[in-house]
């Protein structure tokens, strides 16, 4: 008997083979990406709303990458500082000639405008900061800030949620109470206060609002991933991995997290837009980056004193506003599409 145990089994003759189904052919993409990823990928590139969203995001990414080609930096050492055409308070309308501190001419300038001097493409805002320059370089800020804050928030959320759910018991209890405490703060107020406190300590720049938004932004990820890990942890395939002798880290990293992470990633993609809005809101309130830093929120904030006469000086809010709205819209459309693709109720219709 024990000898039989050692030998490799031989296919039994009467294995009761089910009629051999012909499986659908897989294309190369599907094989490389795996089923879930391929499904998401296909969903994203076929859903019309997410095509719009992806195109918007792609557009902003390209602007951010080629910012220096679109508008060469005015001061090469500090490209994020928006050049100002004098110090007058009254905004200049689009098309006004750029007299002082104009950046070098970009390669496309003559071909498209037919002029051989800079003018203020989208006008200037109060203080003579050039709006076009601010928007182009502000795209970089938006993407860097969005990705940076989102990445840090997600990391903290995932670590706290994973530790809480994996260890359970009082660890879970303490971490979740801690999370609830943070959720009790009104988000923008808390972030505003913290970033106001941090600014004199670490100086103006993108860091005070970044830290503040991260500190008060991770909770929803922690809770979401915790819930998903708790439910995945009880699934039979996790027990099956333990049965074959897999250790804790293998179970966590190759079975639990890969199965639990998608909803959290979807939420994160939807939140990038919101994060950039919050960052802009802090800038608008005068907290965060130094005055004149290329940042959409700050551009809008220059319009503060002109609110009663905005119908006359419309360009100072319309252009930065459009940039911000399209950016947020892009991420939301993609996030919505991802959520629909991931929705287990809709899933049955996609797959058997």
């Amino acid at each position: 008997m024990s000898a039989a145990n050692q030998s490799t089994p031989v296919p039994p003759e009467n294995a009761g083979v089910e009629p051999d189904i012909q499986l659908r052919k897989l294309n190369r993409m599907e094989r490389v990406l795996g089923p879930e990823f391929y499904r998401i990928f296909r969903g994203v590139i076929t859903n019309p709303l997410s095509i719009i969203g992806t195109s918007l995001i792609l557009f902003f990414v390209l602007v951010a990458i080629f910012a220096a080609q679109i508008v060469p930096p005015a001061t090469p050492t500090n490209p994020y500082s928006i050049p100002r055409d004098g110090f007058g308070t009254t905004p200049l309308p689009p098309g006004t000639a750029w007299l002082r501190q104009a950046p070098p001419l970009p390669f496309w300038w003559k071909a498209i405008t037919g002029k051989d001097k800079w003018f203020h493409v989208l006008g200037t805002t109060s203080g003579q900061w050039d709006i076009f320059y601010g928007l182009v370089w502000g795209t970089r800020t938006a993407i860097i800030v969005g990705v940076l804050i989102e990445g840090l928030t997600l990391m903290i959320g995932i670590i706290i949620g994973a530790v809480a759910s994996f260890y359970g018991g009082w660890v879970d209890e303490i971490l979740m109470r801690f999370t609830e405490i943070f959720m009790a703060f009104p988000f923008i107020m808390a972030a505003l206060t913290l970033s106001a406190i941090l600014t004199p300590i670490i100086g103006r720049g993108i860091w005070p609002p970044t830290i503040a938004l991260v500190v008060f932004g991770w909770m929803s990820y922690a809770r979401l991933i915790r819930g998903d890990i708790l439910s995945i942890r009880e699934r039979d395939f996790v027990t099956a991995a333990r049965v074959v002798g897999a250790n804790d880290s293998r179970i966590l990293f190759s079975h639990i997290i890969p199965n639990a992470i998608y909803p959290t990633l979807v939420l994160a993609s939807m939140d990038i837009g919101t994060i950039v809005i919050s960052f802009a809101a802090l800038s608008f309130l005068g907290i965060g980056t130094e005055v004149g830093y290329a940042d959409w929120g700050q551009l809008i904030s220059f319009a503060r004193n002109w609110i009663p006469t905005l119908s006359q000086y419309w360009w100072i809010v319309i252009y930065p506003g459009i940039a911000l709205i399209l950016f947020v819209l892009g991420w939301n459309l993609v996030g919505d599409a991802l959520r629909d693709i991931m929705d287990p109720k809709l899933r049955g219709q996609i797959r058997r």
Binding site: A4, N5, L26, G34, T239, A240, V243, G245, N247, R352
Partner: protein, 339 residues
Amino acid sequence: MSMQTTTETVRSPDVLLRVEGLKMHFPVYRGVFRSRVGEIKAVDGITFDILRGETLGLVGESGCGKSTAGRTILQLYRPTAGSVYLDGEDLSTLHGEKLRQHRRKMQMIFQDPYASLDPRMTIGEIVGEPLDVHQTARGKGRRERIAHLLQVVGLNPLYAGRYPHEFSGGQRQRVGIARALALNPSFIVCDEPISALDVSIQAQVVNLLEDIQKEMGLTYLFIAHDLSMVRHISTRVAVMYLGKLMELSDRSEVYVDPLHPYTQSLLSAIPIPDPVLEERRKRIILTGDVPSPANPPSGCVFHTRCPYAEAICGETIPAWREIHSGHWVACHFAERFKK
């Protein structure tokens, strides 16, 4: 005939697995301070042997602790009390790496073929995971072993790169079986492996399990929720109720001459194809619900539903005794029910 052979084995027992007084109580916590307010006695002191090469059917209503028993035997839950000896070694005293090494010898097949395969792994990766974890095969050897295992369970090895969702329930169950076989185990807990499958597929999977058992000399603990399911495959049958064993005996005796009122009631629920027998037999129809395992009845746990219960049944726990060779029962009055 089977009577003859099993009495043989009982007389010269070659015990593979010995379970002694096994208990698994799940604590119940309540409130902010997570104080322990009680426990669910999912498995409450069970004792039996499984002989090498046999199939022990474990039967009982939903919630009586069958799965918990199987999982505690495999040390997926650490037992509250009692021991599990596999090949003479007490698994309940092993920890960490040592226990992990022993997992090669004992495997499990799950009830739900959809939940038991990681949807993000190909079936090749799933079947190969035991090999990776124990580093028994690498590279070409690993691929060949996976292909071989898939063949053994009647799947085309060309499908190793496919994901579970592309397969039917029966085929997924075969993948689960291939995974269980990967390490050449000697003992497999089959936790209702066919309950979730279409009736037409059930027989195929049972046949496959039997064929593999013969080929590899496997020993099964085969869990099912009614007696008709294990009739075909089992060598012996154990009946469980509220965390305790009620009766254990050779298959032929359990179905023909059950000595425990609970076993009799389970048999009453199975229709007999023969109208004469069907007419003659005495039916016991159970009334009432299964009591909660958090608060099991005193004395004989079955006394709240037993038609033969007497005063002593509510007071004294009936002993788990071998009423005659190879026939174990836990009832004060088992002798009365003998034919």
